[in-house]
């Protein structure tokens, strides 16, 4: 409240310049301030109305100062709000948006395909509409996904259940160069909600998937793999809090006995 005070002082100087014409509105304010001040002060029209001659000169002094100050204040305000919104949007975008922003990612969640969205538990061998699968009905036992590196193909039916728990499944063409496989291993080992296995019939060297999202690339050094893992791992979980341990740790196709192997999935 103290700030308006000092800035009024220069304004009074301006008024002082036009002392002859300036007095009438000043004089008019005294009776006005006593009681009906509320009526007159708010609009400021009273000043205009009283002296038809003076407003031309006073108007110049009256409008530019406050307008400039108000303009600066509004600019500051817009800047503060703008920065806040920018910071919020930049840091707070959804993980789905960040995954979709990665070049080459296919968003199967957006397709609303019932075969992919299905989450039922079913026994035995199951058919999936994508290769590798990114969702759909699956075996009751999930594949252990505690950074497990399987050197042989694993059952889709178990792996899809791991995707449901939030795991990133890294798959590669059998016979991929050893240094490429090692590069992928580094991204998986020691990391929970990660698993890796060779996958026959891939149309690219590497396919990385979570529930409902898939990225296929040819080079293990491709930075998009890391981006995908960083943004989708665990975020993609359909069952927050579900574990990756206590899963099946064997390789090979799903067996008839698999559903009954129990929690440790031996």
């Amino acid at each position: 409240m103290s700030t308006p005070g000092p800035e009024r002082v220069p304004s009074t100087v301006k008024v002082g310049k036009t002392s002859g014409q300036g007095k009438p509105p000043a004089g008019g304010s005294r009776p006005g301030a006593s009681r009906p001040g509320a009526k007159k002060s708010a609009p400021g029209k009273g000043g205009k109305g009283r002296k038809p001659v003076t407003p031309v000169k006073v108007a110049g002094g009256r409008n530019w100062g406050p307008l400039a100050v108000a303009g600066v204040v509004v600019l500051i305000a817009v800047g503060i709000i703008g920065y806040g919104v920018f910071a919020a949007v930049k840091g707070g975008g959804s993980w789905e948006d960040r995954v979709n922003a990665i070049d080459g990612v296919v968003d199967y969640r957006a397709q609303k395909n019932a075969a992919i969205d299905a989450r039922d538990h079913k026994e035995g061998a199951l058919k999936y509409v994508t290769s590798p699968p990114v969702g759909g009905a699956h075996n009751g036992v999930w594949q252990n996904c505690m950074g497990d590196i399987y050197d042989q193909p694993i059952a889709d039916e178990h792996a899809v259940h791991s995707l449901e728990h939030g795991a990133v499944w890294v798959t590669y063409k059998p016979g991929l160069a050893a240094d490429q496989i090692d590069e992928l291993k580094k991204k998986v080992q020691g990391q929970d909600y990660m698993l890796m296995s060779p996958y026959a019939g891939l149309d690219k060297n590497i396919s990385v998937q979570v529930w409902g999202y898939q990225l296929k690339v040819d080079d293990a050094d491709d930075s998009r793999i890391g981006e995908f893992i960083k943004n989708a791992r665990l975020n993609a979980s359909m069952e927050p809090g579900a574990a990756c341990s206590s899963g099946n740790t064997t390789t090979g196709p799903v067996t008839a006995s698999a559903p009954g192997t129990g929690m440790t999935g031996k």
């Binding site: 304004s11 001040g37 929970d192």
Partner: protein
Amino acid sequence: MPVTTDPGAAATVAAPDGGPGGARRFGPWWLVATLVLGLALGLGGGVLIPRLTHPGDDSVEAGFLRDMSTHHAQAVEMSMIAHADSTNARIVTLSGDIALTQHGQIGYMQAWLRGWGLSPTSSAEPMAWMPDAAGSVVNGLMPGMATPEQLAQLREAKGKDLDIQFLTLMRQHHLGGIHMAQEILKLSDNKDVTWLAQTMVTGQQSEINLIDQLLKGLQAS
């Protein structure tokens, strides 16, 4: 009327200070400007302050919560194997206790990360939040964590062999976990994080004492 009294009062107060005409004309402008500025500061502050007071994406707290979640997850994994396969009632109880406690603590840690608007995981190397931690991570494994080979052996073990392997691995795992928790106690003053870390230090230390007792008994039998 009470609303219009305010600008009137402002003008009245201003009148003795300087030119009453100036005060009169500037009053509404200042009021609007002040309101707009106040609104802006309030909105801006409301958006920014939570972000500034919560630990950020590269904070030691976020690093600790993410890494300890992964570290805890392996304790749950080993405990569930022992819980399912051990025939020793004391091992079944201890492993169930560890699995439930640590899985519950993962929930706390993940919920805080989510509450701070942070991702549950990051692309940072394990232990990157801890100073001088280089070299403590071997093949992506944090201090105290069992290797894939040790876990494979544990899955195959039976009877007393299983119990001893489980206790030995868990003792090592707890020592690594306590080390990490003690580090975050030094580095952080976040109330929630240090509270949980302190319970990890004391809880796992007392479990190590119990493990030592059980190991002694098993090795004597």
